[in-house]
Symmetry: C2
Subunit: 121 residues, 2 copies
């Protein structure tokens, strides 16, 4: 039987070579995955200080509060941290559809052979 691997109980987020970690946003009630984004130290600090999800936009190269233009903010209820502290799960209450397409979740399609079909829940 394998011994459990010891892990620290201090929060020491591990940002990658680009200064980012991965954030998975799930609905606090349904637990459905709503979106995936990246956080740098600034986005993580803004999220923890405000209680609303902030990310680092890789395309725009800046801090981005989710919903800053649409109003569809994400109120963070709980943050889960993975074993090696380079990924977070944010359990959130969404103020509206999370996806810019108007869908509740960005993951509204499933792969079937080489085509994308609406998710069959």
């Amino acid at each position: 039987m394998l011994e459990p691997v010891p892990v620290s109980d201090e929060f020491e987020p591990k940002f990658d070579a680009s200064g980012l970690l991965t954030a998975v946003i799930v609905d606090a009630q349904s637990k459905a995955v709503l979106m995936v984004a990246f956080m740098d130290a600034e986005a993580l600090a803004a999220t923890r200080a405000s209680g609303f999800a902030h990310f680092h936009s890789r395309s725009r190269g800046r801090l981005w509060k989710k919903g800053e233009s649409s109003g569809n903010v994400l109120a963070v209820e709980r943050i889960l941290v993975d074993c090696d502290q380079d990924a977070l799960v944010l359990e959130c209450r969404p103020a509206g559809p999370t996806c810019h397409t108007g869908a509740d979740s960005c993951f509204f399609r499933q792969l079937e052979d080489d085509a994308l079909r609406p998710v069959n829940t």
Copy 2:
């Protein structure tokens, strides 16, 4: 009312500058997030061909079949694709604990102030 944004129904995965996309592994039954990893084109092809989750290890710089040494493989039941096709959710049946610590999920701790505590489910 906003018009829905048109999206393609062709699968055209968008790998980032490092040739990677993000894969979120969820338990096909409970929907709990088990782990987060990265896939390059090779890992995605191996996953689709075999039905078992394969990733690209950034630290080892190579293709990695999850469970290749532990036996704790992940049988992929469904792949969800996000709006801009740079992230996937893999709904999987795990053969054993997913985390190398022996926990079912890599996300077994939650952030409370600056400390990590066991997840209070």
